[in-house]
């Protein structure tokens, strides 16, 4: 009985200390932020209830988008190699093949209307800064036209099945123009020098971000970087919740590839240790029965 009392005292002291240096300290150092908003409801420039006409959208896309953007899956290849594109625009313009799938509809429509406010980068592209985002705002288009474009982009996006391939493809489409993933052998499609000039600093390699930032942080951060890192030049990319989950799953596959093995082995090792402990207890009882 006395031993249990001692154990309780130690558990209490260790518990209080642990609470102070882990959950409490983290709560102080990393205050909770507003929950991620995957409907991007602050963006209201375009009435997204309008039904888009994909055929009309195709005409608009051909007239307005493919001069810069590839849409490989719809038969519009890239105009020039990545290095040249980066030199011309500052960054490699995205291939729009999967844009209808990975970007939220409301985000996409508002992005076409005004990229800078959609990306939440008003702080970077101020009039005084003299910087200009390479893609112009299509705020002269009617909401119907914008929704037609969105409908077209959604119509050309290939169907995918869940799994590693899709996770990787989503990561490459959403992050791969700026970020390396060294542990997967992925290099940003935009050359480093262009990126540094374009972003102000070289974007980090994401190989270990699942470990260094953790899922919880990434969940908010990818949704809107400004919330956690005010002033960062990383844009809000407007991923749907599904696409963001795929990106994070991919980061976990690469950055924490032994997770499944760790968790299943953990159970076995603990079971083994439990048996060890029980037998140790029985043996101890037998031995001590002679001396007590």
């Amino acid at each position: 009985m006395k031993e249990f009392k001692i154990l309780a005292v130690i558990a209490a002291l260790v518990g209080i200390t642990y609470y102070g240096i882990e959950p409490y300290a983290h709560h102080i150092m990393h205050p909770e932020v507003a929950p991620a908003d995957f409907s991007f409801k602050t963006l209201k420039n375009v009435d997204t209830t309008l039904a888009g006409n994909a055929e009309n959208g195709k005409v608009l896309v051909e007239a307005n988008c493919i001069a810069c953007h590839a849409i490989d899956k719809a038969g519009y290849p890239a105009i020039m190699p990545n290095a040249d594109a980066a030199a011309s625009y500052g960054v490699v313009p995205p291939d729009l093949s999967s844009s209808g799938r990975i970007y939220d509809k409301n985000y996409l429509a508002n992005f076409i209307f005004d990229p800078v406010s959609a990306m939440h980068l008003e702080g970077k592209y101020t009039p005084e800064s003299g910087k200009q985002f390479p893609m112009p705002a299509y705020n002269w288009m009617s909401p119907q036209e914008i929704m037609d474009i969105v409908a077209y982009l959604q119509s050309v996006t290939p169907k995918v099945t869940e799994g590693k391939e899709t996770n990787k493809a989503t990561f490459e489409a959403a992050c791969g123009r700026c970020h390396d993933m060294k542990y997967a052998g992925i290099q940003a499609t935009t050359p480093k020098d262009n990126l540094k000039a374009y972003m102000g600093a070289t974007p980090p390699d994401l190989s270990q971000y699942i470990k260094s930032r953790g899922e919880h942080y990434l969940h908010s951060f990818v949704n809107d970087p400004q919330v956690l890192l005010h002033g960062t030049s990383m844009p809000r990319v407007g991923l749907t919740e599904k696409a963001q989950e795929e990106v994070i799953a991919y980061m976990e596959e690469i950055g924490d590839s032994k997770k499944a093995e760790r968790e299943s082995l953990g159970i076995w090792v603990m079971l083994y240790t439990f048996v060890f402990a029980i037998l140790a207890y029985l043996w101890k009882r037998k031995i001590w029965s002679e001396v007590h």
Partner: protein, 416 residues
């Protein structure tokens, strides 16, 4: 040379040459431990096991680790964590083990303080134990640098910078320790050497010394009772096992230790597999960058209390800068435990709860150390800085007051 007769058994063969029978008696079956003990007496064996875990896991990490600023981070986080079969397991055991070993050291240490196991002949046990604590601290600090993450780098930067506060030679000393003006490749390689060879050698030596120091004064017991070990051993060997106050190290004492060890391992492996972030700080999964300071820099949890004493003094007092005061207090905090046997002036060897004044001192100290540890992690701004100052002052005051408290206690008890 003595004449050898032909051995009848393998045991005899070895006994003739190595005296194994007697050796086993002296070390195991007739090494006497008091019977009146609780599970806190198992911490020594727990520490031995944990140290073995650290050595073994360390050996395997050493096979793939590369002590070079350009390669260290990836050799740990890619090669070991993701390529090597069970490399991640060895790293988790090593990192979590390094953290938990300090938890057990602290329990071991405060058990010693609580039961008064540092006085009346047991001074050298205490001193060798504190020496081990210091060596483990150096081992922990040097090892934390090796993964070459952001926290590795900045903890190394901040801690080596502390030596800059030493008068006259400070600045040069920092450069000398680092082997460069800043924490760099030369710093990494020399701390690597310290971590994998020099300090472990010293630790092994100190462990042997610590065990040896137990031999003459014997292990303390739950009541602080002094008795004749030879007498009690005789009773045990004569078959009066229940009556005797002692038990042999093997198998009786160890059977209890293994039982405690079993349940401790359950806790340990839970941490290794499922709850390791406290020992593997997420910030350290960003590669070291000397031009980018993390928003919060803090040492591993087991250094927090003394780190807080260091930064608790943040303003000038009587013309001495806060930095210098902090450094002095830090030096005091790290050295003072060593001389504890001479600060406690009461001859009583009893558990703290049976000592009229010491018990208050003990629990005050525990509370103060917890406050220091928690505030050592929190950002030192606003009210936190004052809590840090107050608890640092309390720490100093407790140790300065200890001789007077225990002297008064000796008087009170003596007068009874």
């Amino acid at each position: 040379m003595a004449e050898f007769k032909k051995a009848d058994s393998m045991l005899e063969w070895f006994d003739q040459r190595l005296g194994v029978v007697n050796f086993v008696k002296v070390m195991m079956t007739e090494y006497w431990i008091p019977k009146n003990i609780n599970f806190l007496w198992a911490m020594g064996v727990l520490l031995t096991v944990l140290f073995t875990f650290l050595v073994v896991s360390g050996i395997f990490l050493l096979m793939y680790y590369k002590p070079d600023v350009n390669m260290a981070f990836d050799s740990v986080n890619y090669t070991i964590m993701q390529e090597v079969a069970y490399g991640w397991l060895f790293r988790h055991i090593h990192a979590v083990g390094a953290s938990v070993v300090f938890l057990v050291i602290y329990i071991h240490m405060f058990t010693g303080i609580y039961y008064g196991s540092y006085k009346k002949g047991r001074e050298m046990i205490w001193v060798s134990g504190m020496l081990l604590f210091m060596l483990f601290s150096a081992e922990g600090f040097s090892g934390y640098m090796l993964p070459w993450g952001q926290m590795s780098y900045w903890a190394a930067y901040v801690i080596t910078e502390i030596f800059g506060g030493i008068p006259v030679i400070g600045d040069e000393l920092v450069v000398w320790i680092r082997g460069n003006f800043y924490v760099s490749d030369s710093t990494l390689t020399r701390f690597f050497m310290l971590h994998v060879l020099l300090i472990p050698l010293a630790i092994i030596g100190a462990i042997v010394f610590h065990f040896y120091a137990l031999r003459f004064p014997h292990v303390n017991n739950e009541e602080g009772e002094f008795f004749d070990f030879d007498e009690e051993a005789k009773k045990y060997l004569a078959g009066n096992k229940k009556e005797s106050k002692v038990v042999p190290f093997w198998p009786v004492f160890l059977s209890k230790d293994f039982f405690v060890l079993g349940f401790f391992m359950l806790f340990f492996f839970y941490l290794v597999f499922f709850h390791y972030n406290f020992a593997m700080d997420p910030v350290n999964f960003d590669k070291a960058d000397g031009l980018k300071t993390p928003a919060h820099i803090y040492p591993e949890w087991y250094f927090l209390w003394s780190y807080e004493v260091l930064r608790g003094f943040f303003f000038e007092i009587a013309g001495v800068s806060g930095k210098d005061l902090g450094l002095m207090a830090f030096g005091f905090a790290n050295a003072i435990f060593l001389v504890l046997p001479w600060l406690d002036r009461s001859p009583m060897v009893k558990p703290a709860n049976q000592r009229p004044y010491f018990k208050y001192w003990f629990w005050f100290l525990m509370a103060d150390l917890i406050v220091l540890t928690v505030y050592g992690k929190l950002p030192p701004t606003g009210a936190n800085a004052w809590v840090g100052f107050a608890s640092s002052m309390t720490f100093l005051a407790l140790f300065i007051a200890l001789p007077f408290i225990t002297k008064a206690e000796a008087k009170k008890v003596g007068g009874k």
